[in-house]
Assembly symmetry: C2
């Protein structure tokens, strides 16, 4: 016995998106401007209806809400789902403190310590964190930059299924890849989970950001209404990442009841967040259309510029607001640190996320970075120019 | 393989505080007024400074904050700690989504699946939930209503220590007991954790509500600065339960760094909550004094009335806003359901929390209920009158 920390805390990876903060602080202390392309924090304004709801706040006591979220909020959220073509009712929604909590509750509800969830890699790095915390194993199936991160052959998923497999988890559209699954890819997954009686968890928090083709949710398949669990969040949809409001959406009442028990233990989601998200959901159409258009332009611009830089390869993503680029470098962790701590160009530098932390297979992603195109075109241009100049002089260039 | 839910979800107890909601709905549908003495949701207004901060909200994008919470908020919170005599700096504070998340992160950081935490029972029922979710075992040491829930003899704690023991967890002042630990009781715990190299976790979210003697935090003992982890929350202090803002407070940097990794995975606490709690912390003295006085009067009133009811015993609590009463009944779960579904008096009924769920030893608390004195005196009087009348006719009266 000694005052140590747990193995699960030791195993817990640091967030690859946030662990460069100390290096960024070094740049900031030098007086440099830091363009943050590392984190999915958009610069887009939150809906004015949400801010107005704050300004007109009426309740004098900021009390708990029901553990599953207020009916009023869930009703408005369900209406949004209905407006985009899904038969979702308030009763199918459990509101959570961010999409993160929705994932934690979902994994807790369906998987035991030691059990397994299959995930195409690269995947959202924090999936590793949630799995570590709950002692569940993520089993990767590799996709790759050469194919633009399409879904790996379904046989590769099937080969990984064991008696311990509880679910397949996808991020759709993908963070970090920006990949938007095609209907036939989703159908292959659908058939697989039906055959093997496992869950299909689809993290659709970037659903609003689909560019070249329609986003099909897994909610589209009535055959898997019991298998399908969608993770959603208001963070990206409304550029309100700081309100920490997410949700589990499922027609599987048993899963929702199990998740509700975890939700009851933490009492309630945030009352203010639910009110202002309710306000945002009313007449959100125009807001969402504008945001989509803005990101599409940024996507087009970013991918074009990146592919013009010598030695850089960047497949075009069809969704979310990320892209993965292969750079002519030895090690993206080293490069990401170096560009912050030792490089600058015209008084500024650029922060990017090394890709290693988004893979679970060691050695993968070593020359890849994730770029979040969350700045306006003018700033994106500067940030990418810095990247180009940095690559010219980086000592570990290959 | 089949579409089942996990054992940990099945083991997860329903919240004894919230699981009576369907019975309350039955009463409400009948048109009855329901006095909620079951839940620690105070009727007291949140600080006007906090509401004003909402009305004057300036930021146009509700963005993520740092994972550990904004420096500005943690600085203001640290000042509060300094003002009540503890040498706490912003760097010793990790802001969380409620005290609930603070506990989840703390347990995750120090305990492996299968390891043990010793807790005096009765204890806050949701500790069971957090432990189930993380697959950690709570080992109870029983305190009892006859002694007013004083700390059980320290030998009983010592007898429960095994190589798997990672911590002792207390709630101070206690939920549900209202018990406020005396300095000598804390000293006994201090010596024990020092001797056995384990952590002492003190859930002090009710710290503002100490009535007959001073609240001594475990932060008072420099000898255990590495062992001591305090769970705090703004919920009860400022009657802002719905803003979901809590904190881990510790001088142990290793624990805080481990907890930060879990915090990074869920990205950030709520930006709005941090801003308005910051505002509330400025000049909070008068607000807190008034709230304390109000609860003290309610405590005095509640305990006096309860002890006047035939067959009822209620030791006087010195803190929090709960008391535990022994009622002349067969089964408090049955009684709590019955009083909602089948009883009414002058168009109203009363909701109370059965105590079984606050014990981990089966069979304990069967004739005990927790009463939250969170209503004004007029409503408390009616709610307790209903309880008195109900006890006269309850079929399971003993």
């Amino acid at each position: 016995m000694s005052l140590t920390i747990s193995q699960r805390a030791q195993n817990m990876p640091e967030s690859p998106i946030r662990k460069l903060m100390p290096s960024a602080d070094i740049a900031i202390e030098k007086g440099l401007q830091v363009y943050q392309l590392n984190i999915g924090q958009p610069d887009i304004k939150s809906p004015s209806a949400a801010i107005k709801a704050l300004h007109h706040w009426e309740e004098e006591t900021l009390s708990y809400t029901r553990s599953e979220g207020e009916f009023e909020y869930r009703k408005n959220f369900a209406k949004y789902y209905q407006s985009v073509g899904y038969n979702i009712e308030a009763e199918d929604i459990l509101a959570t403190n961010g999409g993160s909590e929705a994932l934690l509750f979902t994994i807790s509800a369906i998987a035991e310590p030691g059990e397994e969830i299959i995930v195409p890699e690269p995947f959202y790095a924090n999936y590793n964190g949630f799995a570590s915390q709950l002692d569940v194993k993520l089993i990767p199936v590799s996709s790759c930059i050469e194919t633009g991160f399409v879904l790996p052959p379904i046989e590769e998923f099937e080969n990984k299924i064991t008696p311990k497999t509880r679910a397949i988890l996808i991020c759709h559209p993908g963070n970090p890849t920006g990949y938007l699954y095609k209907r036939e890819e989703l159908e292959a997954l659908k058939n697989l989970v039906l055959e093997h009686h496992i869950y299909l968890i689809s993290d659709e928090v970037y659903r609003e950001f689909a560019y070249d083709r329609k986003h099909f949710s897994i909610l589209d398949f009535p055959e898997i209404r019991e298998n399908a669990i969608v993770i959603d969040s208001e963070s990206k949809r409304f550029s309100m990442c700081g309100i920490r409001l997410g949700a589990i959406i499922t027609k599987n009442e048993t899963v929702l009841s199990a998740a509700l028990k975890f939700a009851q233990a933490r009492l309630s989601p945030n009352i203010i967040s639910q009110h202002i998200a309710s306000a945002a959901h009313k007449n959100s159409g125009e807001y969402l259309k504008e945001a989509n258009l803005k990101y599409r332009k940024r996507r087009d611009f970013t991918v074009k510029i990146l592919n013009q830089i010598e030695g850089v390869i960047c497949p075009e993503p069809q969704g979310a607001f990320y892209c993965v680029a292969r750079l002519p470098i030895d090690d993206s962790e080293r490069f990401a640190k170096w560009i912050l701590e030792e490089f600058s160009w015209e008084g500024a530098t650029t922060m990017i996320a090394p890709m290693q932390g988004f893979y679970s297979t060691p050695g993968k992603g070593v020359d890849e970075v994730r770029i979040a195109y969350v700045l306006d075109l003018e700033h994106l241009e500067k940030a990418l120019k810095i990247l180009e100049e940095a690559l010219k002089v980086y000592p570990g260039r290959k």
